[in-house]
C-alpha cells in the first residue's frame, strides 16, 4: 500500500477497506519484503486490533524499530544479547499508539541497539535497500525505513541518535522526522546515548509525519526530559513559507568547497541547488553561511566521544542476570563477561571500549569533557544562526545509499557531509529529511533543521518544498 494515512482513513471509514484486511495486507507485504530486504525481526502474524473511532490512526498498521519495548512481543534491540527478551511493559509511544487504535504489525531490524549507521549489524543479518539489494538502507533504523519505502505500512517508528532516522530516510526516499528533543517521550525505548537519543517517525509525506507525531507527543510522568504539552502540528501545516529565511553551509553544500569532488557529489550538489531555486520560487530567501571548518570537522569526533561514553553506561544494564540469556561462569563476574562477550557484536564492543576510555579519570578532561564543550560550541553557533533564520537546509547525504562492499573512500570534508546531521542531536533541534530526487537511480534526501521547539516552522518549510518537489516517497512498482 502506498496510500497516506488520510487516504487509508477515508477508505476505512467508508467501509471500502476493513481494518482486519488492511492489517493482513501489511503482514503479507512484510513477509514479501522481508524475503528481499531482511527488514524485520518479528512479523506479527495475528496483529491485535483495538479500534479507537476518535483517532485518525485507528486501524492503521505500523512497524516499530526493535528498540521499542512492546508488551508481550519480542524486543531484541537487534542483538543476540536480548534475542529472546519479551518485555512486560510498553514503551510510552507504543501504549499511546495502542490507545489511538494503530495496529502494530512488525518489529523492524536495526543496527544493534541503534549503534551504527548501516543496518548491517543486526543479529538477524544485514538489511537491504529496496531500490538496490546490493546497497545499504542506512541505519540504524534500517528496517523501519525499508518498511515505509516498500509500502508495507504508511508509517514506522525509529530512533535517531546521530542521524538514524534522517539518513535512512534519505537512502530510502521517504520522510524521516526527528522532532525537538523531549517532544516525544523515550520511556521504554532501549537507549543508546540518552542526551542524543530521539524518537522519530518515517512516513511518505510530511503531513503523515505530523499526524503520527501529534498522536505520540506530549508530557510523560515516566520521562523527565519530555516537554510539557504543545499545540498539535497537523492543523498548523499551511505551506505558507513566504518570506521565510533559510541558510545553508557553504563548506558543506557549495561544490567549490571540495578539491576533487566525485561525480556523485557533483550530482548531489546540483540537485541541492535546484531545490534551493525552488525554495526561492516559493518565496523563501536562501543564504549561504560560512562555519569554521574546524568546528565542522569536530562534529564527528564529538559525536563519537559523547555517544560512546553514554552508550558504555547505558549498556551496562545488560548483564544477562535478570534478563537475557545467562552467561556461563563459576561466579557472577565470569557470567557477565561471558554473556557480554557472546551477546555483543564486535562493533558494539569497540564502541564500548572507546566510551570507557574517554570516561576514565585520566582521559575524561581531554576527551569526554572537551567533547561536551565542543558540542556546546556547535549548539551556540547554530542557535546564533537561528536568531536570523527560520531553518537550516542541507543535503541529508552526499549521494545515494552506499554499496555493501564499502569501497567508496570518503574524503575528509565529504566525511563532514556524511555526519553533519548529528548537529540536530547535539542541540535537540527539530530536523526532517524529505526526498529530493534521484541520483544514479537512487533516492537522496534534503534536510531542514530549525530551532528548538520550532517544529511547526520546520515542518511547514518541508511541507512547502515537498509539494513543489513533486516527488513523494515510496517505491513505486
Amino acid at each position: 500500500m502506498f496510500e497516506g494515512i488520510e487516504e487509508l482513513r477515508k477508505k476505512l471509514d467508508s467501509g471500502k477497506l476493513k481494518v482486519k484486511d488492511l492489517a493482513q495486507q501489511a503482514v503479507d507485504a512484510s513477509k514479501k519484503v522481508n524475503s528481499k530486504c531482511n527488514a524485520f525481526v518479528t512479523i506479527i502474524d495475528k496483529p491485535k486490533i483495538k479500534e479507537n473511532k476518535k483517532s485518525i490512526l485507528s486501524g492503521i498498521p505500523y512497524s516499530a524499530k526493535d528498540l521499542f519495548s512492546t508488551k508481550g512481543i519480542l524486543t531484541t534491540g537487534s542483538s543476540n544479547a536480548l534475542k529472546d527478551y519479551i518485555p512486560f511493559f510498553d514503551a510510552t509511544v507504543i501504549s499511546r499508539l495502542k490507545k489511538s487504535g494503530a495496529v502494530l504489525t512488525s518489529k523492524s531490524a536495526c543496527d544493534e541497539f541503534g549503534l551504527g549507521g548501516t543496518g548491517t549489524t543486526c543479529h538477524t543479518g544485514i538489511v537491504r535497500n529496496p531500490y538496490d539489494e546490493n546497497r545499504e538502507a542506512g541505519g540504524s533504523s534500517a528496517g523501519s525505513a525499508v518498511a515505509v519505502a516498500s509500502g508495507v505500512v504508511p508509517f514506522a517508528l525509529g530512533t535517531d541518535t546521530g542521524d538514524s532516522v534522517r539518513k535512512p530516510a534519505s537512502f530510502c526516499g521517504i520522510v524521516g522526522y526527528k522532532p525537538t528533543y523531549g517532544l516525544i517521550p523515550r520511556y521504554g525505548v532501549l537507549p543508546f546515548a540518552s542526551s542524543l537519543d530521539h524518537v522519530g517517525v518515517f512516513t511518505r509525506s510530511v503531513k503523515d509525519a505530523a499526524i503520527v507525531v501529534d498522536s505520540i507527543k506530549g508530557p510523560d510522568s515516566k520521562d523527565m526530559t519530555a516537554l510539557p504539552k504543545t499545540d498539535d502540528l497537523t492543523p498548523l501545516l499551511d505551506g505558507n513559507v513566504e518570506g521565510k529565511r533559510l541558510f545553508y553551509i557553504k563548506e558543506i553544500c557549495d561544490i567549490r568547497s571540495y578539491d576533487n569532488p566525485s561525480d556523485e557529489l557533483k550530482k548531489s550538489i546540483k540537485l541541492f541547488n535546484e531545490i534551493i531555486e525552488k525554495a526561492k520560487k516559493l518565496g523563501m530567501q536562501v543564504i549561504p553561511e560560512s562555519i569554521d571548518q574546524k568546528l565542522l570537522n569536530a562534529i564527528q569526533p564529538t559525536y563519537q566521544v559523547i555517544s560512546c561514553a553514554e552508550a558504555t553506561s547505558n549498556l551496562s544494564m545488560y548483564t544477562g542476570i535478570i534478563y537475557g540469556p545467562r552467561g556461563n561462569g563459576s561466579n557472577i563476574n565470569e557470567m557477565v563477561k561471558d554473556y557480554r562477550a557472546h551477546g555483543f557484536s564486535s562493533l558494539i564492543k569497540r564502541r564500548l571500549v572507546i566510551g570507557s576510555y574517554v570516561l576514565q579519570k585520566e582521559n575524561q578532561e581531554r576527551y569526554y569533557l572537551n567533547a561536551c564543550r565542543v558540542r556546546q560550541m556547535i549548539i551556540d553557533k547554530f542557535n546564533e544562526l537561528f536568531t536570523q533564520y527560520d531553518g537550516f537546509i542541507t543535503l541529508a547525504s552526499g549521494g545515494g545509499a552506499p554499496l555493501f562492499d564499502g569501497k567508496t573512500e570518503v574524503l575528509s570534508n565529504e566525511a563532514v557531509l556524511e555526519n553533519h546531521l548529528a548537529i540536530g542531536n547535539f542541540g535537540g533541534f527539530p530536523s526532517i529529511t524529505i526526498p529530493a530526487g534521484f541520483i544514479n537511480n537512487l533516492p537522496i534526501g534534503i534536510n531542514i533543521t530549525g530551532k528548538v521547539q520550532d517544529d511547526v516552522n520546520v515542518l511547514n518549510i518541508a511541507y512547502a518544498l515537498e509539494k513543489d518537489i513533486k516527488f513523494k516517497g515510496g517505491l513505486h512498482e
Partner: protein, 475 residues
C-alpha cells in the same frame, strides 16, 4: 597519645523516609517479603528512565540546611558507573557536580568543649539492592534498590572517637527531628564509613588514610576509632606492620579492623552528568518554605539545657535524643516550670512510666499544663510534694484533670494554725521527757516532732507552718 593528632572524616548514608523510591514509583518501605516493592525501573529493564521524587529532594535540601550547607541554584545528578550484582543498572544515580549541599558547618559540644564539624557535602542518591550470601549462592532482594539515601561527607576535621560519636548522635537526632530518616543504625537506616589517619606535632600526616567501611553502630564507631588509632600508632612506631592507603572493615566480635582492599584495587567510577534528568531550577521561595519547617536542633538544645538550665551533659542528652520528649520539656519551660524541676519530674516519674507502659510522650496523659498545675500547687504549699506525687498518679489512673482530682481526693495541706497548734500541743504534752532532752542539746529531736505531726495529720500538715509553730513552742 598527645604526640599524635587523630584526623577523622566520616561518610554517612542515611535512608530517607518517603512514600516512593527516589527515581521510581515503587513503594519505599521495608518488607519481609523479598522483591515485593519493585517494578521494571528497580530491576533496570531495558528502556527504563528515572523520575525524581520531589519529597526526597525536599528532605535532602532540609538536611542540607540543618548542616549549614550552601544549597545549589539547580538540581543535577550524575552517574557513578560500576558493576556489582546489587546495582542492576550498572550505574548509580548520585550527585557529584552539584550536590544538594556543600561547605556546611555544625557547632557541637562534648565533654565540656565546643568543636566544629565542617561538612564537605551532602548529596541525594539511590540505594542498592540487599544481598544475602550463602555458601554456594547469593540471594538478591530488590526492595531496597532505588530507595532514597542522603550521603553526608564531613571534612577530615574530627579529632577523637568521642567527637565522632557526638557528631553521629547529632546527625541521627537531627534526621529524626526533621522526619528525614528513622536513623536507626541497627536497622541499617544509618551506615557509617570512618576515615582515619594521624598527624605528628608539626601537623604532617604520618600515616596513610584508612577507610573503615560500614561500621554498624554508634558505639562501634568509637571502638573502631580507638582500635584503628592504636593500630596505626603501633605500626608507625614499631614498623612491624606496613601502613598503606586501604579499605578495612570493623569486626564486631573482636572489635578490630580487618583489611578488605588496598588503593590499587580502587574502582574508577567514570562519573558523568545523568542525561535523563534535566537540570531543574530550585525556587528560592521553596527553599524558604523548607527552612521554616526546621525545628530548633539537638546541638542548640543540648547547649541551652546545659548552659541555661544547668542540666548535666548526660541529663541533657537523655532529653535531646528524643525529639518529642525534648519538645515536652521545652513546653514545660515555656509555660513557666522551673527547668530543673521539670527535668526531675521527667527523669524520676515520667520516663520510667513511659518505659513501663511502652508508651511515647505523645500519648502521655499529663500535659505540660497539667504538670504545671501540680508543680504550682506544691510550690504554693497547697499540697505537699508527697501529695503532688499522689495527684500525678491519680491523673494517670483516672485520666482526669488534676484540678478535679485534687478536690475529689481531698488533697490539701492542713494550714489552719489553730488546728495545728492543738495537735502540736497534744504531741508535746505526751513527750515531756523528750522536750527536756531537746533543750539539753538533742536538737535533732525537732525532726521527730515534725514526723509526729505528719503522722497524726496523715501527711496533710503544711510543713512550713508546722515548723513555725513548733519552733515557737520549743523556745
Amino acid at each position: 597519645m598527645s604526640k599524635y593528632e587523630v584526623v577523622i572524616g566520616l561518610e554517612i548514608h542515611a535512608a530517607v523516609l518517603s512514600n516512593t523510591k527516589v527515581f521510581s514509583p515503587s513503594k519505599n518501605s521495608y518488607s519481609d517479603v523479598p522483591n515485593e516493592n519493585i517494578n521494571e525501573i528497580d530491576l533496570s529493564f531495558p528502556g527504563i528512565m528515572p523520575s525524581l521524587n520531589k519529597e526526597a529532594v525536599r528532605k535532602a535540601l532540609k538536611m542540607s540546611m540543618v548542616l549549614g550547607c550552601v544549597q545549589p541554584d539547580e538540581l543535577m545528578f550524575d552517574r557513578k558507573n560500576y558493576y556489582y550484582p546489587d546495582l542492576p543498572k550498572g550505574f548509580q544515580i548520585t550527585q557529584v557536580t552539584k550536590p544538594v549541599g556543600i561547605n556546611g558547618k555544625v557547632e557541637l559540644y562534648v565533654d565540656n568543649h565546643d568543636f566544629t564539624v565542617n561538612i564537605h557535602d551532602i548529596h541525594l542518591e539511590e540505594d542498592t539492592a540487599s544481598m544475602d550470601h550463602y555458601d554456594y549462592y547469593t540471594l538478591i532482594d530488590y526492595n531496597r534498590a532505588g530507595t532514597p539515601l542522603v550521603e553526608i561527607v564531613t571534612e577530615p576535621c574530627i579529632h577523637s572517637g568521642e567527637e565522632a560519636v557526638a557528631f553521629l548522635e547529632f546527625l541521627a537526632n537531627s534526621l529524626r527531628y526533621c522526619n528525614v530518616s528513622d536513623a536507626d543504625m541497627k536497622k541499617g537506616h544509618l551506615r557509617c564509613d570512618v576515615n582515619i589517619n594521624l598527624k605528628n606535632e608539626n601537623g604532617e600526616f604520618i600515616t596513610p588514610r584508612v577507610e573503615i567501611k560500614n561500621v554498624g553502630s554508634i558505639s562501634y564507631v568509637l571502638d573502631a576509632v580507638n582500635y584503628e588509632v592504636a593500630r596505626q600508632i603501633k605500626a608507625y612506631e614499631t614498623g612491624i606492620e606496613e601502613l598503606v592507603q586501604e579499605t578495612r572493615r570493623f569486626d564486631e566480635a573482636t572489635k578490630t579492623t580487618i583489611r578488605m582492599r588496598t588503593k590499587e584495587d580502587a574502582v574508577d567510577y567514570k562519573y558523568f552528568v545523568e542525561p535523563n534528568i534535566p537540570r531543574i531550577k530550585i525556587d528560592k521561595s521553596w527553599l524558604k518554605e523548607i527552612r521554616k519547617e526546621i525545628p530548633s536542633l539537638p546541638n542548640e538544645r543540648l547547649k541551652r539545657y546545659i548552659k541555661e538550665y544547668s542540666l548535666s551533659e548526660s541529663e541533657a542528652k537523655t532529653l535531646v535524643k528524643d525529639f518529642e520528649l525534648s519538645n515536652y520539656y521545652e513546653e514545660c519551660i515555656k509555660i513557666g516550670i522551673n527547668p530543673k524541676v521539670a527535668f526531675n519530674w521527667l527523669s524520676t516519674n515520667i520516663i520510667g512510666y513511659l518505659n513501663k507502659e511502652f508508651m511515647t510522650i505523645r500519648d502521655f496523659y499529663i500535659t505540660p499544663n497539667y504538670l504545671k498545675f501540680i508543680v504550682d500547687k506544691i510550690n504554693s504549699g497547697e499540697i505537699s510534694s508527697k501529695q503532688g506525687k499522689e495527684l500525678f498518679n491519680y491523673c494517670l489512673e483516672e485520666k482526669e484533670e488534676p484540678s478535679i482530682l485534687m478536690k475529689k481526693h481531698n488533697l490539701k495541706q492542713m494550714d489552719n494554725s489553730n488546728e495545728l497548734e492543738g495537735i502540736i500541743d497534744n504531741i508535746l504534752k505526751n513527750n515531756l521527757k523528750l522536750i527536756e532532752d531537746y533543750h539539753n542539746g538533742k536538737t535533732n529531736l525537732f525532726g521527730f516532732f515534725i514526723g509526729e505531726v505528719m503522722k497524726q495529720t496523715k501527711g496533710k500538715a503544711n510543713p512550713v507552718i508546722a515548723k513555725q509553730i513548733l519552733t515557737d513552742k520549743l523556745k
